[in-house]
């Protein structure tokens, strides 16, 4: 059993990180805080009391979600409609009890293929702000996640925030998640779509699919094909082959790969239906 450290400042935390191996704890919802967890035998670094780390705010370059912000903080935050998908995902991250403790940053660091937060953040072009004693660095979320349960985070580093660039907070968004039970489920498939419409045309579109491969993925080819096209009839122009080629789902006890592939197409069509409908003149 080791020490429990609860620094007030980021500098202090980064100093500890540089000094010794620690387990970083925030909401602990994925840490299996229960006593049999081996990872808690060493020093625990509790980052929830660090000044400013639980702030969600906008600055000159975009939005910054502090690493200790909980899912409930995201739900309560005053954010533009482009973030609706993130809020919708937040409402389905486990129970409200989990949402009150679990953090967005923890969700991405845990790097589960079924992490609910990842598809909406990908569709927001999120970057991960990483702190270390030697200075910070920033990595696009798509590069931050390398494989199931694996990230580019190095020893001595911690995630300090998630950043959403200015240009990506435009448009409306939707998240949709499929599970075997009505609530409290591990995703079988989930999609997050952001649609920015200008003068009846797709100015920008961001589509992400989760739980259909080792890490959640953006559908870049499909997005490219849809950009600049008219809003009218957009859902009908979803090309299933461009979706299928981007996904590598597996068959597990929750669903077959075939089901996942088909479900991803249906879910995308639905969220786009919804977004299109919302933008159409009544």
């Amino acid at each position: 059993m080791g020490a429990y450290l609860q620094p007030d400042t980021l500098d202090e935390a980064l100093g500890i990180l540089a000094r010794e191996p620690v387990t970083i704890a925030a909401g602990c919802t994925d840490l299996f805080a229960a006593t049999e967890s081996q990872s808690l035998n060493g020093t625990v670094l509790d980052v929830t009391r660090i000044e400013g780390l639980r702030r969600i705010a906008k600055d000159a370059t975009g939005w910054r979600i502090g690493a200790a912000s909980t899912w409930s903080d995201v739900i309560a935050a005053d954010l533009p409609p482009a973030f609706d998908m993130l809020k919708q995902a937040a409402r389905e991250v486990g129970s409200v009890q989990i949402q009150n403790a679990g953090t967005v940053a923890g969700n991405i660091c845990n790097a589960s293929p079924a992490a609910d937060g990842v598809p909406p953040l990908l569709s927001l072009d999120a970057h991960v702000e990483i702190g270390a004693k030697g200075g910070p660095r920033e990595v696009p979320l798509a590069e931050f996640l390398t494989a199931p349960r694996a990230t580019v985070l190095m020893p001595g580093e911690m995630v300090t925030a998630i950043r959403i660039p200015d240009v990506s907070d435009k448009g409306e968004s939707r998240f949709s998640k499929l599970g075997a039970r009505k609530y409290l489920v591990i995703s079988i498939v989930m999609v997050a779509a952001r649609l920015h419409v200008q003068d009846g045309f797709v100015r920008d579109i961001a589509l992400s699919v989760g739980a259909c491969g080792p890490v959640a993925t953006r559908l870049a080819a499909l997005e490219e094909a849809l950009r600049g096209t008219p809003l009218a009839g957009l859902p009908d122009r979803l090309q299933p082959d461009l979706i299928a080629s981007a996904l590598t789902p597996i068959t597990d006890m929750r669903a077959s790969d075939e089901y996942r592939r088909e479900a991803a197409v249906h879910l995308l069509r639905r969220v786009l239906d919804d977004l299109t409908l919302m933008r159409s003149p009544v």
Partner: protein, 750 residues
């Protein structure tokens, strides 16, 4: 329904307390957190135990790093097969029909993943957990045998507990081949785990050769004898307390290995020891519902009359013990047929031994039977309800005996009307809701036997006008403490608020088993008889006393109510219990009673509760997500003691039906034999949002034969009928017949 019973005693009326929708007597304790469950006990000098679980499904433990565990400063003792003290009974023996072969570290063999392979006792839970981790076991691994294809098949000598593995009546082959319509149905059901919210727990403490244990138990006196047997002490040296059980569903009726380990540890370290299973440890040594593979064939004539019915079931059990889910027997008592065959076979796999789980046999069997019946109705082109009515069994199909009472027709009628069944289109795929969801309606018939167990109780009338009633009944949520107190109050002729009800420990007379839906009837019968016997003693005193207004009423009889005895022929002549006791110079008067059934009735009649369940499902037409939007059942189960609580039991069972149909499935890795979903995130049970509209209706039923009080049970019947109703509703929505449970969303894709 006559409200003065002829037996056991005509002077006591049933009904002033029984039948009332009282709220739970243990309600305040449960909503304030003061109800104590086993793991809530914290005696002085308490030590904590954690067992290490086998990480393989078959083989041997070849090494355990006991030294590492013992070097942890707070670890007190490590128990392995090498240092485990001898038990008085062989854990691999079976001393009575309710005993299972258990794992008590008898050797280094591993028979299933999750089996206890060592026990660590420490000052704290954290240290015991760490100690168990430090053991770092190494194994000699044999290939695991998981699944029907890989296990060893055999013909079981019995199904369930002592049930008949095969049954045949009439000539099935001829009946089937001569039938105008013939259908077959194959239905698989998976292993299911009880997963009571309270994990199995025990706090054990020795004082000399006297043992005190706090552990949830559904059969307190039976367990006392079994615990005493393992440790070679007389049963009266065991005090077992089980005042609150955090859900049992069958898994806490039978003694399990970890309990023995904790008691053993308490003796070794000479301190009280607490052992609480982790949730993942609930997927091994504490039983489950075995998987089944069922095949049915039904032949009908042109009018839709069943001519032949066959139900074959293969069930999985462990490699070392036998509990066979008697699924095929679900076809013996429901639908009329001149030819009926039921047959069972079994397959041994490397899992823990199954055990009774809420409606053992009936739940899985009914889940398949009701699909087959629906297919038969479809083949005839008949409405499923009309088909079931056409084949209504007026006498028990298996034995030919008359039913003690059967009100299934009334159940069909009431539930169908409430549901709106008459608007149902015959063909599938016809209905959509306002959101474009596919809508389907299906139904199933529900049935459960009405067993009784030997039970005793004591009633004591006290001079202050109250009564103490005692029986070792177990309340695991079914409301025993409330319903039994209501019956007891009627037995002693007092309002229920003047009853002190003591239950839940070995200090009270044996209340038998809280299981098989027979507890209220058995323990209730004992309480009622004890009460009426005590009242009879009081009446004997009064009617023989010249100073009593009841003097000489011995022949005309007296009636007891509200704490007074009245002359049966003259209401104006009465006397209070208190006055009778006072004049006799007695502080109290007591009597024993026992529950039971007239053996002549048992011989002559078939005894079952019945019900009908109607389900509406809504299914996403593209993604096939299924939601049970309505589930409405009507049930007839003899006299209902507390309609408020009986409805909760029934809706609880029906929601288990939702879990069975759509969610629950214990999955083992075929290669390693390890459970893949041994937690509540992976093993899905229904959550609140899965059960938006579940309703149970009660049908009055007067059963003069089932027992003196006319009580059947409601604990298990709710799950039967419901599962098939949901599967049939899925067919009605999609046109797709289900061949395995739970119904996977991607199974509807093809």
């Amino acid at each position: 329904m006559p409200d003065t019973l002829q037996t056991p005693a005509g002077h006591v009326r049933l009904g002033s307390n029984s039948g009332q929708p009282m709220t739970r007597r243990d309600g305040i304790a449960k909503v304030t957190g003061t109800a104590t469950y086993a793991a809530d006990n914290r005696p002085d000098r308490l030590a904590h135990a954690v067992f290490a679980s086998a990480g393989i499904a078959r083989g041997r433990v070849v090494s355990l790093n006991v030294e590492a565990a013992k070097s942890h400063p707070e670890v007190i003792e490590v128990i392995t097969p090498d240092n485990r003290p001898a038990l008085h009974l062989d854990p691999d023996g079976k001393s009575h029909p309710f005993s299972w072969r258990i794992e008590a570290l008898q050797d280094n063999t591993v028979r299933y993943a999750g089996q206890p392979i060592a026990l660590v006792v420490a000052e704290t839970l954290e240290a015991a957990t760490e100690g168990a981790r430090l053991l770092a076991p190494e194994y000699d691994t044999d290939p695991a045998r998981i699944g029907f294809e890989n296990g060893e098949a055999y013909d079981p000598p019995a199904v369930g507990i002592g049930g008949n593995p095969s049954f045949s009546k009439g000539d099935f082959d001829t009946g089937f081949s001569n039938s105008e319509h013939r259908i077959g149905a194959s239905v698989d059901t998976p292993a299911q785990y009880h997963n009571a919210m309270e994990p199995h727990a025990i706090v054990a403490e020795w004082s000399g050769d006297h043992l005190t244990i706090d552990t949830p138990n559904q059969a307190i006196h039976l367990a006392r004898g079994a615990f005493a047997g393992y440790f070679g002490i007389p049963p009266e040296n065991v005090t077992l307390r089980s005042p609150f059980i955090g859900g049992g569903f069958g898994s806490k009726a039978i003694l399990v290995g970890p309990q023995i380990l904790a008691i053993m540890a308490a003796r070794m370290v000479d301190r009280p020891v607490k052992l609480v299973l982790r949730r993942d440890q609930m997927f091994g040594p504490v039983q489950h519902r075995g998987a089944t593979r069922q095949k049915l064939r039904i032949g009908t004539d042109g009018n839709g009359l069943i001519k032949a019915l066959e139900h074959e079931a293969t069930a999985s059990t462990s490699s070392f013990d036998d509990f066979i889910e008697g699924a095929g027997n679900a076809s013996l008592n429901m639908y009329a047929s001149p030819a009926i065959v039921a047959r069972h076979s079994a397959v041994r796999v490397d899992t823990g031994t199954p055990g009774p789980m809420r409606a053992p046999g009936e739940a899985s069997g009914s889940a398949a039977l009701e699909i087959a019946i629906d297919k038969a109705a479809e083949a005839v082109g008949m409405d499923p309800l009309e088909f079931r009515l056409r084949n209504y069994a007026e006498t028990d199909p298996a034995s030919g005996k008359p039913f003690s009472a059967k009100s299934l027709r009334e159940c069909y009628e009431l539930a169908a009307q409430k549901f709106g069944w008459s608007d149902r289109p015959l063909a599938p795929g016809q209905m959509r809701d306002e959101n474009g969801m596919l809508v389907g309606w299906g139904m199933g018939s529900a049935l459960f036997p009405a067993p009784m167990f030997a039970a005793q109780a004591r009633a004591t009338l006290r001079r202050d006008g109250t009564a103490l009633v005692e029986t070792s009944g177990a309340d695991m949520g079914q409301g025993a403490w409330t319903a039994l107190a209501q019956i007891a109050a009627d037995g002693v002729g007092l309002p229920v608020d003047r009853i002190e009800f003591m239950s839940g420990t070995t200090d009270q007379p044996d209340a038998g088993v809280a299981g098989g839906s027979g507890h209220t009837a058995s323990a209730g019968g004992a309480l009622f008889e004890a009460g009426s016997n005590a009242v009879q003693k009081l009446a004997d005193l009064a009617t023989a006393d010249p100073e009593s207004p009841l003097f000489g009423a011995g022949n005309t009889g007296v009636e007891a109510r509200e704490g007074r005895l009245f002359r049966a022929d003259d209401e104006s002549r009465s006397e209070s219990y208190a006055d009778i006791l006072e004049r006799a110079g007695l502080e109290r008067i007591d009597a024993m009673g026992s529950g039971g059934r007239d053996p002549a009735n048992t011989e002559a009649r078939a005894m079952f509760s019945h019900g009908a369940v109607f389900a509406e499902v809504k299914i996403d037409p593209d993604l096939f997500q299924i939601r049970v939007s309505r589930l409405i059942g009507a049930f007839a189960a003899g006299r209902i003691i507390n309609p408020h609580l009986a409805k909760s039991q029934l809706t609880g069972g029906m929601i288990w039906g939702i879990g069975f149909a759509l969610h629950e499935e214990g999955i083992h890795d075929l290669r390693s034999g390890r459970p893949l979903n041994a937690d509540l995130a992976g093993y899905h049970v229904p959550v609140n949002a899965d059960a938006p509209h579940v309703e149970a209706l009660l049908v009055d039923e007067d059963d003069p034969y089932v027992n003196a009080l006319g009580i059947k049970g409601v604990g298990e019947i709710g799950i039967t009928g419901s599962v098939g109703a949901i599967a049939n509703a899925v067919w009605h929505a999609t046109g797709k017949r289900i061949s395995s449970y739970p119904i996977h969303i991607d199974a509807l894709l093809s």
